[in-house]
Symmetry: C2
Subunit: 349 residues, 2 copies
DNA sequence: CTGAAAGCGCTAACAG
DNA sequence: CTGTTAGCGCTTTCAG
C-alpha cells in the first residue's frame, strides 16, 4: 500500500496546524512569511501533493468536464477533442473524453459515469437522432441537473452550437450545379447529420433539378469503408450520375476509391465534394473540395456556452443556440482549379 | 446550487440507516429481500447516483488511469487512445487522456495533475528523450509511487512495451535495397524514435552501402508539414537519392507532396516507405508501403503490464519489457505491385 | 440482518 | 496571523 503524504504530515513536519498548511497551499489567505517558508519546505521535502479528490468533495466541484464524441479515432473528432481539451485546460478544467461508437448503450453508460463522477459539465457531441430520441437519457441528464451543451443536435432547453449545415451543403451542391452537373448523388444519413441531406435537396429543388431518390444513399457509419460500399452499391444499380456530394470527407475518400476501381475518373467523369475539411482532405489525391467546419471556433463556442451555463442556477438557465458558418473549400475533386477543360466539358453538355 | 440526493436522503426515504443503503447499492453484503426492495425503490424515485468522489476518498482508488500521448489529433495516437480507453473501460477504469504536443512543460503539468487526482496508474506514451531526459519528471513519478508503464522509451525500473523498431526499420530499408535502391534518404529524429534511424543505419551498413549523412534529416514534429519542409530542404541541397524512408506515415505524406510538386514521381523516380500504417496509408495515392504497428496489441500489452504493476506493492515491482513485432506492408509507393518496369529499372542501374 | 459511529483528506467558519 | 472544529458523502468496523 502506497502511503501518501497528507496535509497532516506536512503540518507536523512544519510544526503548524493543518489549516495553516491549507492556507499556504491555497495561497489566498494571509500567512506570515516565516511560517509560509516553513510550510513550503515541508511540502517539498515530504513531496506533498494536495489530494484533489478530497478537495472536490468539499468544494463540490471536480474541475472536470465530460466530453462525448462519436469516435475518437475519426480525424474530425480527434481534432475536436484536442481543441476542446486544450481550451478547457486553459480554463482550469480537465477533460474526460468518451467515444461512443454511436451505440446508445455506451452513451448511457458514459453519461451515468459522468454523473457519478460529478463532472462540472458535459459537452455532448453526438448524432442528433440519438440525443433527441432517447428519452431515458434526456431524463437522466435533466434530473441530474448537470450543465450540458451539445454540438449539432438541438434539444429543448439545452444550449447548443451547430455548424450551418443546411447552408453549407446547399453551397456545396450549388457549386456542383454551377459546374454544369445535373445528376448529383448524395451519401449521408442520420449518422452524418440529416441537415446535410436537406441542404442537398434544397439546392436541387431551387435549381429545378430532378431529385432522383435512387441517387440518395444512407450509410450507418462515418468511415471510408461505408463510402466505398455505398458507391459500389450505387454503381451496381446502374443509375447515372456525374457528381457526388458526401456527408463527410471520410465517406468521400472511400467513394473515390470505389470510383477509381471502376475506372471512373475524379473529377473528369464524376465530380466529388466532401464535408468537414479534415487534414487528409488536402493530402488526398485528388485534393478534396469540401465544406470546412471551423473546429477551433466550434470548440470555443461550446466551452463558452458551457461555462455560462455552469454559472447559472439550475432553474433559470436560458438555452442559447449558436450557428457557426461553414466555408466551401474548392480543390481538385470538383474539377475546378485543375484543368479548365473539365469545366468546359461540363458546361457544354 | 444543485442539490444532489445523497445516501442520507435515500436512507430517510426508505426508513433505514445509511449503512443499509450502502450495503444495498454495493450488493456485496447480506440484506433482507424486503429492505433491499424498499431501498431500491427509494434510490429510483430519488434519482440517486452514488458519489464516486466520496467513494474514491474512502477506497483510495479512483478507478482512473491517466494516459499521456504526444498528440491526440494525430491519427496514430487517436487510435491508440481509443483502443486503450475501450480496453480499460472493460476493466472498470475510466481514462484521462492528455496530449502534450511534445512540450516538457505540459508533460510535467499533466503528470502533476494525474498525481493530484490520484489516478490508479499512468500509461505514458512519449518520445523517449523526454522521459529519460527530464530527471525532475522521473523523480516526481517515482516518489509518488504511482504505477506507470511506458510505450517505447525504456526507463530504469519501469515496465514498458515497445514495437520492434530497429528490426522494423531494418526490414523497411532492406526492402528498398532489395528493390535496387542505393541512395536512400531518411527523415526522422528523436521525436519519432531514434531506433528507426538506427534500423536504417544498420540496413545500410549491413549491405555495405555508402551512408551519406546529408541524406539523413531530422525533424521536430510528426505532421505532413514537417515532412514537406524536410523534403524541400533535401531537394534544395542537390543531393541525389532514389528512395526515401520516413519515420512515420504523416512525414511520408508531406514528403511525397513535396516530391510531386518538384515533378519527381513516386515510386518511379523515388520509392517511399513510411512507418505506422495508419488508416490513411492505404487511402493515400500512391498507397503507402509502410511498417505496421499492431496498435491493438500494443494497447493490450500496456494495460496488462499496468494492471500487473498495480497489483504489486510499490517496493517489489519487477519491471518487464515487452517487444511487439512489426510487419512490413508493401504497397505502391515503394514501386512493387504496380508496374514491374519500375522494379527492373532500378535493378539495372 | 441492521444501526451507530469513526473516519478518508481537506476546507471553512469560528475563535483566539 | 494561527489553531480548533465541524463536516463533505460514503464505507466499514463494531455492536446489537
Amino acid at each position: 500500500m502506497i502511503i501518501k503524504t497528507t496535509i497532516k504530515d506536512v503540518a507536523k513536519k512544519a510544526g503548524v496546524s493543518i489549516s495553516t498548511v491549507s492556507r499556504v497551499i491555497n495561497g489566498m489567505d494571509r500567512v506570515s512569511k516565516s511560517t509560509t517558508k516553513k510550510v513550503q519546505l515541508a511540502v517539498e521535502t515530504l513531496n506533498f501533493y494536495p489530494d484533489h479528490v478530497a478537495r472536490a468533495m468539499i468544494n463540490k466541484k471536480t474541475q472536470t468536464i465530460g466530453l462525448i464524441v462519436p469516435q475518437l479515432s475519426n480525424e474530425y473528432w480527434a481534432l475536436m477533442s484536442e481543441v476542446i481539451q486544450n481550451q478547457l485546460w486553459l480554463n482550469g478544467y480537465t477533460t474526460l473524453i468518451s467515444s461512443t461508437d454511436n451505440e446508445t448503450d455506451k452513451e448511457n453508460a458514459y453519461l451515468k459515469m459522468y454523473i457519478e463522477r460529478r463532472v462540472d459539465g458535459i459537452i455532448y457531441c453526438a448524432p442528433s437522432q440519438h440525443l433527441s430520441g432517447d428519452q431515458q437519457q434526456m431524463d437522466m441528464l435533466k434530473r441530474s441537473g448537470v450543465p450540458i451543451v451539445t454540438l449539432d443536435p438541438s434539444v429543448v432547453g439545452i444550449s447548443c452550437v451547430t455548424g450551418d449545415h443546411l447552408l453549407g451543403s446547399f453551397n456545396a451542391v450549388e457549386h456542383l450545379i454551377q459546374l454544369g452537373h445535373r445528376n448529383i448523388a448524395y451519401i449521408g444519413g442520420p449518422v452524418v447529420s440529416i441537415e446535410r441531406e436537406f441542404g442537398y435537396r434544397k439546392a436541387m429543388m431551387m435549381h429545378r433539378l430532378n431529385l432522383n431518390e435512387a441517387l440518395i444513399l444512407t450509410v450507418n457509419g462515418q468511415t471510408p469503408k461505408e463510402g466505398y460500399r455505398a458507391l459500389q452499391q450505387l454503381l451496381a444499380s446502374g443509375e447515372k450520375f456525374d457528381a457526388l456530394f458526401c456527408g463527410n470527407d471520410m465517406l468521400a475518400f472511400g467513394a473515390i476509391k470505389a470510383l477509381e476501381e471502376a475506372n471512373i475518373r475524379v473529377p473528369e467523369d464524376v465530380a466529388v465534394v466532401g464535408y468537414d475539411d479534415i487534414q487528409s482532405a488536402s493530402l488526398f489525391k485528388p485534393t478534396l473540395t469540401t465544406v470546412r467546419q471551423p473546429i477551433s471556433d466550434i470548440g470555443k463556442e461550446l466551452i463558452g456556452l458551457l461555462l455560462q451555463c455552469m454559472d447559472q442556477e439550475v432553474g433559470n438557465r436560458t438555452p442559447r443556440k449558436i450557428v457557426v458558418p461553414t466555408e466551401l473549400i474548392v480543390r481538385e475533386s470538383s474539377g475546378v482549379g485543375k484543368q479548365d477543360e473539365t469545366f468546359f466539358f461540363h458546361e457544354e453538355r
